[in-house]
C-alpha cells in the first residue's frame, strides 16, 4: 500500500542524503519526495510517498526515527490529512483547440502562467486524483513538457498524531 510520510528534520547539511541513502540502502522505494525549510529556518519538512506492506512501512518509520537528525515522523496515511501537489504543463494546442484547453484549465481552477504563439503553460494544484484527471484530459492537446512538485501533506486539525 502507498503511504505518505511526513518527516520533520534538522535543516542541516547532508540530511537529505541521510534520508535518501536510508531508502536506497535498505531497498525501500521513494515514489516522491519534497522538501523545504519550515517557518523556523532550523527545521525542514520532507514529505515522502512510499509503498510497502505493513512490516516494511513500520521499518521505514522506525528507521527514519533512528536517524539522529530526524525529529519527528508521522505516517499521514494513518490519520485524516490533506495532500497537494502542483504541476506545470506546457502544451502545443492546435489553433482551433485553444479555447477548449483554456476552458479545461478553468474547470480545474488552474492558471495560465505563460503563453506564446504556439504554447500555453498551465499550473494546476490539487490532490493526486485531481491531477490525474486533468492530465488525462489535457493529453490529447499535445503535452510538450511536464513537471510536478511531488506531494506535500499535512494532518487535519484535531487529529491525534502518533
Amino acid at each position: 500500500m502507498r503511504h505518505t510520510i511526513s518527516v520533520l528534520v534538522e535543516n542541516k547539511f547532508g540530511v537529505l542524503s541521510r534520508v535518501s541513502g536510508l531508502f536506497s540502502g535498505r531497498g525501500y522505494n521513494i515514489e516522491s519526495l519534497s522538501v523545504d525549510e519550515t517557518i523556523d529556518p532550523q527545521l525542514s519538512v520532507m514529505t515522502i510517498v512510499t509503498s510497502g506492506d505493513d512490516q516494511i512501512i513500520e521499518q521505514i518509520t522506525k528507521q527514519l526515527n533512528k536517524l539522529i537528525d530526524v525529529i519527528k515522523v508521522v505516517d499521514l496515511t494513518e490519520v485524516d490529512h490533506v495532500e497537494r501537489e502542483m504541476i506545470l504543463v506546457k502544451i502545443t494546442p492546435k489553433q482551433q483547440d485553444k479555447a477548449e484547453a483554456l476552458r479545461l484549465v478553468d474547470i480545474f481552477r488552474g492558471r495560465v502562467v505563460d503563453s506564446s504563439p504556439r504554447t500555453y503553460t498551465f499550473e494546476i494544484t490539487g490532490d493526486e486524483k485531481k491531477i490525474a484527471a486533468f492530465v488525462e484530459l489535457i493529453k490529447p492537446f499535445g503535452i510538450k513538457e511536464f513537471v510536478r512538485t511531488g506531494k506535500i501533506a499535512m494532518a487535519r486539525e484535531g487529529v491525534k498524531k502518533s
Partner: protein, 579 residues
C-alpha cells in the same frame, strides 16, 4: 580562552576522559599529532595500518565498555578505516573515529588526499560530522561521544579539515548534550513487562535467547537472576557469549547456524522465547518462516528497528535490557514460583536428553592435532580467565563452541560483518586496556594475514598478545562449504603458500612457537602463557579436513542440522538397532 582547533580537540578528548588513542599520522592531521608529541595525558598507539587502529579501538571498547578512539589522516587514511567502522557498526560498538580532511576551501576540488569520508561512512556509522567551523568543534566532539555511547551504541565519525585545526575559537565545553532529535528509550513499557511476566509464568517450554545487548547494557547479573529464578534455559547468540556462564547447567551454548543441537532443538520445540538484546540475524534464525513455530516471542531491545524486522513478535518491549529485566524479575518474584516448578522440570529433563543425544564433540586423535582440541586446551589452561578474540571462519566457530565464556566482555569477535583480520588488532586494543590480562586471538592462517602487520605494534608497545593460529592451509570455512555444497570443487580456498609463522614472528621481534603433534599442544600453550613482554604466535598445524558441526545449511530451518559424519554414523547405528 582562545585556542586552535587542534588544541580544542585535545582539551575535548581530555574532558571525555580519553586515555588511549589508536592512530596513524598524515598531512592534514599533523597539527593534531604535533600536540600529541610528548603529551602526558594520552598514550598514542601508532598502529601499522588504519584498519588495525580502528579494530584496536574496537577491541578496547568491547573489552572495557568505554568508547574507543582512533585518529587518522584524510583520503587513504580515512578510507582504510571503513572496514573497521562497518565492523563496529554491525556489532554496536562505541567508537569515535577522527579523520583529517583537506582544508575547507579545497573540499570538493578533488584535492590531494581528499575523500568524501562522511559520504562514504554515512550508512555504516551511527552518525557522522564534518566540522566546517572551529566554533562547532568542542560541541561536536561532546555530541559524538554522547551518541556513540548512549542508546544502542555505535561508531561516530568526525571529519576535521586542516584549516579547522589551525583556526582559533574560544574553548567552551558544553556541560550537557541536548539533542531534540535523539532520545533513546530506556524504561520499558510497564504494561508490556507485566504481559511478559504473565506469559513467562504460563509457559511450559520457555527458552531465553540472550544477545550482545545484554553485555552492552551490563545486564548479565539481572539475566542470571532471571534464568535461575524462572528456571528457564538460555542460549546465546555469538555476540551474547559471556552473558551467562557457559559451563552452567542452564546454558545451552550458542544457537543458530553452528549452534548446539540442543539449543536449536529447544528453540524449535519451545512455546515461549524471551529474546533479550538480540536482532534475529539470519545466522540465528535459519529459514525465518520455520523459526520457533510453536513459540510466542517476547522481544526486549533498545533499538525499535530490531523489533519485527525479521521475525514476528508477540510482546515487544523497547528499552534498556538491565532496567527491563529488573522490573520483570520483581514482578515474577512478587508472585512466587511454586506454580511452575513441575512443568519446568520436565522441559529441563527433555533438554538434558538432547544434550546427551548430541553433545558438542569431535574425534580426538593422538597423531594429528584437531583444531577443536587446541581451543579446548586453551580453555583448560586459562581456566576461562582470559579475553579471547577471534578471526573469522572455522576458527571463530570453534572458539565459540569449545571455549566456555564465563563473563561478559571476554569474547571479542566480529559477528555482524564477519571481518577476517579483526581478531588480532582487537586483541591488541584489549591488551592496551588490560595490561596484565591474558589475551588470546584464536586465528585462522588466512585471517591472520589480513592484519599481520600489527605484530610490529605489539612488539613496540610490549603487548603480549597470544595468537593461536589454527593452521589448516585453507580458507577452511570456504573449503567446508565447497566440500558440502559445491561438489568438492575447491576454487580458491587452498592457500598453497602459507608463510612460516614462526619465522614471521621472529622477523618482527616476537616469539614464534609451533606444534605439529597433539602432544605438543599443551607445552606450546604453557610456554606462550608465560611470556609477558612480547606477542607470541602459536602455529598449530591442524587437521585440514575438520569441519564445523552442527551446521544448518543456508536457507534451512535451524533444526535441519548436519551433525557430522561421526554423529550421522551413530544415528544410523541406532536406527539399525531399533529395527
Amino acid at each position: 580562552m582562545r585556542m586552535s582547533g587542534a588544541e580544542i580537540l585535545i582539551e575535548s578528548l581530555k574532558k571525555e576522559g580519553v586515555k588511549h588513542i589508536f592512530g596513524y599520522p598524515g598531512g592534514v592531521v599533523l597539527n593534531i599529532f604535533d600536540l600529541l608529541y610528548e603529551n602526558e595525558d594520552f598514550q598514542v598507539i601508532l598502529t601499522r595500518h588504519e584498519q588495525g587502529a580502528v579494530h584496536a579501538a574496537d577491541g578496547y571498547a568491547r573489552s572495557t565498555g568505554k568508547p574507543g578512539v582512533a585518529l587518522v589522516t584524510s583520503g587513504p587514511g580515512a578510507t582504510n578505516t571503513v572496514t573497521g567502522i562497518a565492523t563496529a557498526y554491525m556489532d554496536s560498538v562505541p567508537l569515535v573515529v577522527l579523520t583529517g580532511q583537506v582544508s575547507t576551501d579545497l573540499i570538493g576540488n578533488d584535492a590531494f588526499q581528499e575523500a568524501d569520508i562522511v559520504g562514504i561512512t554515512r550508512p555504516c556509522t551511527k552518525h557522522n560530522y564534518l566540522v566546517k567551523d572551529v566554533k562547532d568543534l568542542a560541541r561536536t566532539i561532546r555530541e559524538a561521544f554522547y551518541i556513540a555511547t548512549t542508546g544502542r551504541p555505535g561508531p561516530v565519525l568526525i571529519d576535521i579539515p586542516k584549516d579547522v585545526t589551525v583556526n582559533k575559537a574560544t574553548f567552551k565545553w558544553p556541560e550537557q548534550v541536548s539533542l531534540r532529535s535523539y532520545n533513546p528509550t530506556y524504561e520499558g513499557n510497564k504494561w508490556m513487562i507485566k504481559q511478559a511476566a504473565r506469559t513467562i509464568q504460563k509457559a511450559k517450554k520457555a527458552v531465553i535467547i540472550a544477545g550482545g545487548g545484554v553485555i552492552l547494557s551490563n545486564a548479565a547479573r539481572e539475566l542470571k537472576e532471571l534464568i535461575e529464578f524462572a528456571e528457564v534455559p538460555v542460549t546465546m547468540t555469538l555476540m551474547g557469549l559471556g552473558d551467562f556462564p557457559g559451563a552452567h547447567e542452564l546454558s545451552l551454548g550458542m544457537l543458530g547456524m553452528h549452534g548446539t543441537y540442543y539449543a536449536n532443538k529447544a528453540i524449535q520445540e519451545s512455546d515461549l522465547i524471551v529474546a533479550v538484546g538480540i536482532r534475529f540475524d539470519d545466522r540465528v534464525t535459519g529459514r525465518v518462516k520455520d523459526f520457533a513455530p510453536h513459540a510466542k516471542i517476547i522481544h526486549i531491545d533498545i533499538d525499535p528497528t530490531s523489533i519485527r524486522k525479521n521475525v514476528r513478535v508477540d510482546i515487544p518491549i523497547v528499552g534498556d535490557a538491565k532496567r527491563i529485566l529488573k522490573v520483570l524479575l520483581s514482578i515474577l518474584k512478587e508472585e512466587g514460583k511454586s506454580q511452575w516448578e513441575p512443568v519446568r522440570k520436565s522441559w529441563l529433563k527433555q533438554i538434558e536428553l538432547w544434550k546427551k543425544e548430541h553433545p558438542l564433540s569431535y574425534a580426538y586423535s593422538d597423531t594429528i592435532i584437531k583444531p577443536q582440541y587446541v581451543v579446548e586446551q586453551l580453555y583448560e589452561l586459562t581456566k576461562g580467565n582470559a579475553i579471547i578474540s577471534t578471526e573469522v571462519g572455522q576458527n571463530q566457530m570453534w572458539a565459540a563452541q569449545f571455549y566456555k565464556y564465563d563473563k561478559p566482555r571476554t569474547l571479542l569477535t566480529s559477528g555482524g560483518l564477519g571481518t577476517m583480520g579483526y581478531g588480532f588488532p582487537a586483541a591488541m586494543g584489549a591488551q592496551v586496556a588490560h595490561p596484565g590480562m591474558t589475551i588470546i586471538d584464536i586465528a585462522g592462517d588466512g585471517s591472520i594475514q589480513m592484519n599481520i602487520q600489527e605484530l610490529a605494534t605489539c612488539v613496540l608497545y610490549k603487548l603480549p598478545v597470544k595468537v593461536a593460529i589454527l593452521n589448516n592451509q585453507y580458507l577452511g570455512m570456504v573449503r567446508q562449504w565447497q566440500e558440502l555444497f559445491y561438489g568438492e570443487r575447491y576454487s580458491c580456498s587452498h592457500l598453497d603458500t602459507v608463510p612460516d609463522f614462526v619465522k614471521v614472528a621472529e622477523g618482527y621481534g616476537a616469539v614464534g612457537l609451533r606444534a605439529v603433534k597433539p602432544s605438543e599442544v599443551v607445552p606450546v600453550i604453557k610456554a606462550a602463557l608465560k611470556i609477558k613482554d612480547k606477542p607470541v604466535f602459536m602455529d598449530f598445524v591442524v587437521d585440514w579436513k575438520e569441519k564445523v558441526f552442527p551446521m544448518v545449511p543456508a536457507g534451512a530451518a535451524i533444526d535441519e542440522m548436519m551433525l557430522g559424519e561421526e554423529a550421522e554414523e551413530k544415528k544410523k547405528k541406532k536406527l539399525r538397532a531399533v529395527k
